[in-house]
Each structure stands twice: as structure tokens, then as C-alpha cells.
């Protein structure tokens, strides 16, 4: 009996699949279709969820309407793997006929998607992927980035450290792939140009179970440690940093994702006093951010992370562009041009415009972790205004240099 059931179930599934694929799309007054590719299952499910929540919240506040047309968001799961990203992108573009794509989450998925949307000429919004080259050496007219580049907040940060602290000899420890390299690279460049010196660089792999061997290698003659991790690795790193007694004697600074709100609630006192740069903090005390954070918390019972805000503001970009076009999203070139022209002065993170390479020019906040009202938060201690991905450098000169990597900038002899 059970055998037959098993066979029937499988046969039935195949039948349903066939029918589902061949059924013609229902015809109706045409809504604007946005394809949203993020991980909703697997290791990155929580970050993907933040992105979906942020994006959806914006459209809910506008009743899913813009310029008289309905907006339809189709969310597809890529589990954070590039092969799936491509499969879902194909489905959204060719089967669901979306007008634009938004996402993905991981850098490798973003790089895989870049070639696809460039070939298929699909307007795409990258709210999170921060791989520098997507709006630098590997840019395409079809991708508009509304988040950040990995080095963007770290370039001002290097200067801030030399101006506001006594740290002059710093060791770095971060992910041994592009995200880690670019965060560290941006910091190293301006830190060393303003008188500091990186004396040691450590590169653990993603998901290292034990940072002990790396922590034990830290030199003794340093003033501070710069760390760049995210997610479960950041949690683990901070615990172990404290356990090995380093927190007590070595100040910790690092990239923004180290203390981002997607993991901050999980941390304890080991996170206090860590200074990081990012283009957002949930503790930003502007009225726009407070409105956003409370609406978000009311709906999702948690504080927004930068994943949430970037997606929320990304939705805003789409909205403003469509308003300018009076809803005519079908002309893709015009839509892309309109997206690049959008200027927002009151996003939760502050004012945002796009540079000539379709990357945001925005405030960079130097934040310090403090406990307020019993909860940890990233308190803003300084704001750099109007920061682009090139900091103070000339874009042409900047692009002549190689992208930040393990060995660039090189260590000073």
C-alpha cells in the first residue's frame, strides 16, 4: 500500500509540475513586476529575511502602488548559492517577465548575476552586495547599486582613527576573500597615508571554527586590532576575543558588519566600545530613521539592520524613478536613467544620491557600541557627509590601481 502511494505521489508531482509550467499566464491590467532574489532558506536565511522585510515595508506604506499602477513583488530563494541565483534570475526574467531584479545577498551571487543581467539587459538593483568592482572595474549600465562598496566606509575610517585616537600600529584580521580584503584595504590605505601603519594582516577563512590560532599570533606591539567578520563568525570572533583576554588590553575596531544590528542583540559586554564605520546605524537619531525603525519594529518585532534599511531605501529609489517616469517602466533605458537621477534627502540613513558609476554618495557614520536602556546599540559619534566610493581620490586615478586584495595595498617594509 505504501509503495503504491509513494509511486503515485511522485507521478502526481511530475504531472502537476508539467501543468504548472505550461499553464498560460493570467492576463490582466499589467502590474509592475519586481523580481527579488535572496536566500530565504539556508545559512543566510536571516539576512535575506531582513532584506525582504525592508523592501516590503516600503511598498506596504505606499499600498503597493506607484503612478497609478500596482506593484507586484516576486520573491525567489537562491539559498545563497550562485547557481541558484542564476536559475531564479532566468525564471524571473523569462517566465515571470519581471521589469527589474533586486538582490542578491552574497558577493559571489552578485558577481554571477552581473554577467547575466548585462547580457539579458535587465535593470537590476543591488541593495547589499558590496564587492567594489561591481561599480568600478566591472560595472555595467544595467546595475544600480543602492548600498555601498566594501571600502567606502573604511576609507574615511582610516583617517578618523589617526585623527581621534592614539592608535598608530594596527593589526588586521578578516575574511580571506574579497569582502575582507576590500574592507581592510580601504582602511589600510587612508590609515597609512595619514601616519598610521598596518604591521600585521591575518586572514582566516570563512567559517573558521576556532580563531584561537589567529588570536595567538597577534603581535604584542600593537595599539589596536581591526577586524572584519559578519554573522555567526562575528559572534564567535567577539566571544573568543574576549575569552582570550584580548578585549581587556587591546581595543577593537573593525568593519561595520562586525556589530551590525543583525547580530548585535546576540552579543554581550564583549561588544562594548567597539568602533566601526558604516553608512547606517539603527540608532541614528534623525526623525526619518526613528520613524523607520519604529515602523519596522512594530511590524517585525526586531530592530532593523543595514540589510533592512538598504532594501527599504532601494525600494524608495525604484519608487522615485517610477514617479518621474509616470510609471512607464517598460522603457528600460529610460528607467535606468531615471534611477540614476534619483536624489533622496530623507532616507532613514540620511541623504543619498548616486555617483557617475551608479554607486551611492552618502553619509558615513562612525559608530561606537554602547548600552542604552539595557540594550546594545551602535551610537553615532561622528558623521562624514557626502562620501563616495572613491573618497577623496580622483576616480580615474583610483581605477588605475588594482582592486583591493590580500596584497594590495602592500605591507610597508
Amino acid at each position: 500500500m505504501t509503495r503504491r502511494l509513494a509511486v503515485l505521489a511522485v507521478a502526481g508531482a511530475v504531472l502537476v509540475t508539467g501543468v504548472g509550467i505550461t499553464a498560460p499566464a493570467a492576463s490582466q491590467a499589467r502590474p509592475i513586476r519586481i523580481g527579488f532574489i535572496v536566500p530565504t532558506t539556508g545559512v543566510f536565511a536571516a539576512n535575506g529575511r531582513d532584506m525582504v522585510n525592508g523592501f516590503t515595508l516600503f511598498w506596504e506604506q505606499r499600498n503597493f502602488t506607484v503612478a497609478g499602477r500596482r506593484v507586484e513583488i516576486i520573491v525567489e530563494d537562491d539559498v545563497g548559492a550562485p547557481a541558484n541565483t542564476l536559475t531564479k534570475a532566468r525564471k524571473l526574467v523569462e517566465q515571470d517577465r519581471v521589469d527589474m531584479l533586486v538582490g542578491p545577498l552574497t558577493a559571489n551571487s552578485g558577481l554571477a548575476l552581473r554577467d547575466f543581467v548585462h547580457e539579458a539587459k535587465v535593470p537590476t538593483l543591488f541593495p547589499i552586495v558590496s564587492a567594489d568592482d561591481i561599480t568600478q572595474r566591472r560595472r555595467t549600465p544595467y546595475i544600480v547599486r543602492v548600498g555601498w562598496t566594501s571600502s567606502q566606509p573604511n576609507q574615511p575610517f582610516g583617517e578618523w582613527i589617526t585623527k581621534n585616537t592614539s592608535y598608530r600600529r594596527v593589526a588586521t584580521i578578516g575574511y580571506d576573500f574579497a569582502f575582507g580584503h576590500e574592507n581592510v584595504g580601504g582602511f589600510q590605505r587612508t590609515f597609512e597615508e595619514s601616519g598610521g601603519r598596518i604591521v600585521q594582516k591575518l586572514w582566516p577563512p570563512i567559517g573558521a571554527p576556532d580563531y584561537g590560532p589567529y588570536l595567538a599570533q597577534l603581535r604584542r606591539d600593537i595599539d589596536a586590532v581591526y577586524a572584519i567578520f559578519s554573522g555567526a563568525d562575528a559572534l564567535r570572533f567577539l566571544s573568543q576575543y574576549q575569552e582570550f583576554g584580548l578585549k581587556a588590553r587591546l581595543p577593537l575596531i573593525g568593519g561595520g558588519t562586525l556589530t551590525d544590528e543583525h547580530i548585535l542583540p546576540q552579543m554581550g559586554n564583549e561588544a562594548l566600545d567597539i568602533v566601526t564605520p558604516l553608512h547606517y546605524s539603527a540608532a541614528l537619531s534623525t526623525s526619518e530613521n526613528r520613524a523607520f525603525a519604529s515602523a519596522y519594529a512594530k511590524k517585525y518585532t526586531r530592530s532593523p539592520s543595514y540589510y533592512s534599511e538598504n532594501s527599504y531605501t532601494g525600494a524608495r529609489f525604484v519608487y522615485e524613478a517610477l514617479v518621474a517616469l509616470r510609471g512607464a517602466v517598460e522603457n528600460r533605458e529610460a528607467f535606468l536613467a531615471a534611477l540614476r537621477r534619483v536624489e533622496i534627502s530623507d532616507a532613514p540613513r540620511g541623504p543619498v544620491t548616486l555617483d557617475a558609476f551608479a554607486n551611492p554618495v552618502q553619509n558615513i557614520y562612525i559608530r561606537k557600541v554602547e548600552r542604552r536602556g539595557g540594550l546594545l546599540q551602535n551610537t553615532v559619534v561622528f558623521t562624514y557627509r557626502g562620501v563616495s566610493q572613491f573618497w577623496k581620490y580622483d576616480p580615474e586615478e583610483f581605477l588605475k590601481q588594482p582592486v583591493y586584495s590580500r596584497d594590495f595595498p602592500p605591507m610597508k617594509p
Binding site: V16, T41, P82, A112, D176, P205
Partner: protein, 342 residues
Amino acid sequence: MRMRRPLRLLFLLLGGAALLLLPQFLPVYFTHLLILTLVYGLAAMSLDLLLGYTGLTSFGHAAYFGTAAYTMGVAIVRLHVRPLPAMGVGVLGAAVLAALFGLLAIRATAVYFLIITLALGMGMWGLAYRWVSVTGGDNGLPGILPVDLGFGWPLRDAVALYYFILTACAVAAFLLYRLTVSPFGLALRGIRESEGRMRMLGFNTWLHKYVAFVVAGGTAGLAGTLYAAYNGFVSPTDLHITGSAEQVLVVILGGSGTLFGSMIGAGLVVFLRNLISAYTQRWLLILGIVFIATVMYAPEGVLGKALALAGRRFSGRLVPAAPARREDVLGELGVDAREEGA
């Protein structure tokens, strides 16, 4: 599979016609899913050669698939080799790797073979992950598209790519099939049933297993190059143990020891995954349950079940049957038992 000739021909014609004509009538997305089915199916078929026909369960088969994809990718992106020769290099890379790993793995039996192939597979994943200068590390290797074969056959759109992949897979599948019904293939089945007996009969079982391993690795490599040509992108996840585990799953679901069952299994997994994940996030849970149910109640898989229902003796088993009778094995090999006088 031995079915009556006309019936088998009919199935082949129907299947072939469907594969040739469906992309013309159905939406493009369907063609994409078919491409994925063909690619994963070919890789699974190569695993079936090991698992179903020789009785060697490999848990690291994704290593050859991924290595070929990376070799081809590196050849195109970093060494500027033309696409078609790059594919050849990719297949060669996978075969060489299988030849190397086979030396380590074939000495082991049953469970240890499983463990060793698992370990070797993980090692290759680690290499892809850490050798950043060559493989791009976690970011992967983009830029393999577009594949222009250079004789006026542009592969820029999905349908053209589909026919190219279909041709390659059909040829490879046919060759695999011929291998399984050749004396070599029959010897493999004999080894699966009882290696001791085969050795006693004078077969060099180590060599048979080794050759099967290399052939399987090379064929998986071919699937890997087709995959790279389709996606234009390779990343370490393609070599991860979850990929190897999924390949085993596909073979079992489709029917181990039936060769073409693996293609059916791949189709099931590809289509179900994409269909079900539109309705629920619990795709992995469903997959796990389906798999457990299959092992418990239908271990011969979809095709095996279908063949059994059609009244044919099923020649591949998840659970080893009673040891093969010596006369049967010899008879299949064309030796008259009475003449052996043993």
C-alpha cells in the same frame, strides 16, 4: 535494461521526440530546467556506473564535475583558450583527477570507499575555496560566457545551448549505455554481486573498478564542462559535499543500476525543487522525507519500479540480492558453465 526490442525502441523514440520538440512549444524557462536536468542527469548517470553497476558508493563525485568546470573556466578566463578545446581540457582534468584519486580509493571496499571518496571530495572543495589566485575563491570564477564554438554555431540563447547540450549528453549517454551492456559492463555487475567470485574466475577486478572509476570521473567532468558553458560561472559550492550527496540521491531516486533512471531522477529533483520552492520554504524537509520514503519503500527507484511493474527483472539493486549464481554470471558472459568443469 533488456526489454523487448519494439517496446524499447518506442520508448526511445517517444523520449527523443519529446526532448527534441518540447523546447519549441513550451516557455523558455522550461528549456532552462531541461538543460539543468540533462547536465545533472549525465553526472548522475556516471555515478550510477559506479554505484549501480559496480556497487561502489562514491560520496565525492561532485569533485570531478566541479574540477572539470573549473579547469575549463580557468583555461578560458585566465589562459584565453578557445571554448571547445577548453571543454576538452576540462574533461581531461576530471579524468586525470579520477585516475589519481582512483589509485587511493579503489583499494578500499564498501564503507571505506565511501569515506575516502567523501574525504577526497572535501579536499577538492577546500582547494577550490582557498586557491584564490586561480579559482577566485569564494567569489567564484565568472566570465566563461558566451561560448562560441567557432564554427558558426552561436550559443547565445537558451534554445541553441539546449540542443548543443542535448547532443553532447545523448552521445555520452549512448556510449555509457554501450559500456554497460558490453562484456566490461557485465563484468562490473559480476563484481558488484561478488567480487571474490570474479577474482576466482580470473578477472582483474582492481583494473575493472579503476577503469570504471576513471570513466565515471571523466563523464562527470563532461557534465561539468557543459554546466560551465551554460552558467558561465563556477563557484566552490559546485564541489561541496551537498552536491555529491544530491548526486547519490538522484541516482537512488531514479533507480540505481538502470542508467537512464538517473536522468529521470535528475528531472524529478530539478523540477520539483523549482516548483515546490515557489509554495513553501520547506523544500529540504520535503526532499529528505521523499528520500527516506524511497529508500524504505521503493529502493529500486522510479525507473526500477516502473521496470518491475512492467514485468522485467530489475538488474540494479540498492540492497544486494542473493549472491548471483555462478551459472548466471558465466552465462551472461557467454561462457558455457558445463565447459568450465569447475
